[in-house]
């Protein structure tokens, strides 16, 4: 503990236990299972839509619209954001993210595919199998829900 009463870095709790101690789930486990099953079925159906089709567009538009309505109409209980971020700690993220986008941008410069493929060029073939694409859609929807709670 620091002299001014603020917890020293070593005194700060880890992010893991707090998440585990306060799970945010629907009140009824049956409801949680039903929602999970519904999302899985939706992801499976959405994953079967052909690229550039109306179905594929709707499959992405519907979760976006629902989350937008939830975010602005009936927002769920939100996880309190930090008052401020540690600048040196955050700089690690900035360095890695900047390097990532620079690496990605250099793929578009000079239209250098296939010598310097973009991240999308590398990911798209991996999303070819139906089960992989459906799983990715499910993760994307859960990430959206996690963002709405932020």
């Amino acid at each position: 503990m620091a002299r001014d009463g603020t917890p020293a870095p070593r005194d700060r709790p880890s992010s893991w236990p707090s998440r585990l101690a306060r799970p945010r789930r629907p009140a009824h486990p049956v409801l949680a299972v039903a929602i999970g099953a519904g999302l899985a079925v939706y992801a499976w159906v959405a994953g079967s839509a052909a690229p550039f089709s109306r179905g594929a567009f709707l499959a992405v538009l519907i979760p976006g619209a629902i989350l937008a309505l939830l975010a602005y109409g009936r927002p769920p209980e939100r996880i309190p954001p930090p008052e401020q971020l540690d600048v040196p700690g955050t700089s690690y993220w900035l360095i890695v993210l900047t390097a990532f986008f620079e690496w990605e941008a250099s793929a578009y410069k000079d239209n250098s595919w296939p010598w310097h493929p973009s991240f999308t060029d590398l990911i798209n073939p991996l999303l070819g199998p139906h089960v992989v694409k459906s799983a990715a859609i499910l993760v994307w929807m859960l990430a959206g829900w996690a963002l709405v709670r932020r």
Binding site: A8, P9, R10, D11, R12, P13, S14, S15, W16, A46, G47, P51, F52, A56, F57, A59, V60, P63, G64, L67, A68, A71, I79, P80, P81, P82, Q84, L85, D86, P88, G89, T90, Y92, W93, V96, L97, A99, F100, W103, A107, P114, W115, H116, P117, F119, T120, L122, I123, N124, L127, K133, A136, I137, W140, A143, G144, A146, L147, V148, R150
Partner: protein
């Protein structure tokens, strides 16, 4: 030893950067870490309404980019 193709260098670069992101997230979750987790810095960016809108728009764009195209 044959030279490493440019394509392989590109892929290695992406793998290293994505692995670095996972490593940062793991380090951020250690007790006493000064590195924020993804959720923490995203939550910080989403404090203003404009930040919240842009982050959610970015999430939707990722879905459209990878799953609708």
């Amino acid at each position: 030893m044959p030279p490493i193709p440019t394509r392989a260098i590109t892929i290695i670069g992406f793998v290293v950067l994505v692995a670095a992101m996972f490593a940062l997230e793991i380090l951020a979750r250690r007790p006493g870490s000064r590195i924020p987790t993804v959720g923490q810095w995203l939550g910080y960016l989403m404090r203003p309404k404009l930040g919240r809108f842009l982050i959610l728009l970015g999430w939707w764009w990722i879905g459209w980019h990878y799953f609708a195209r």
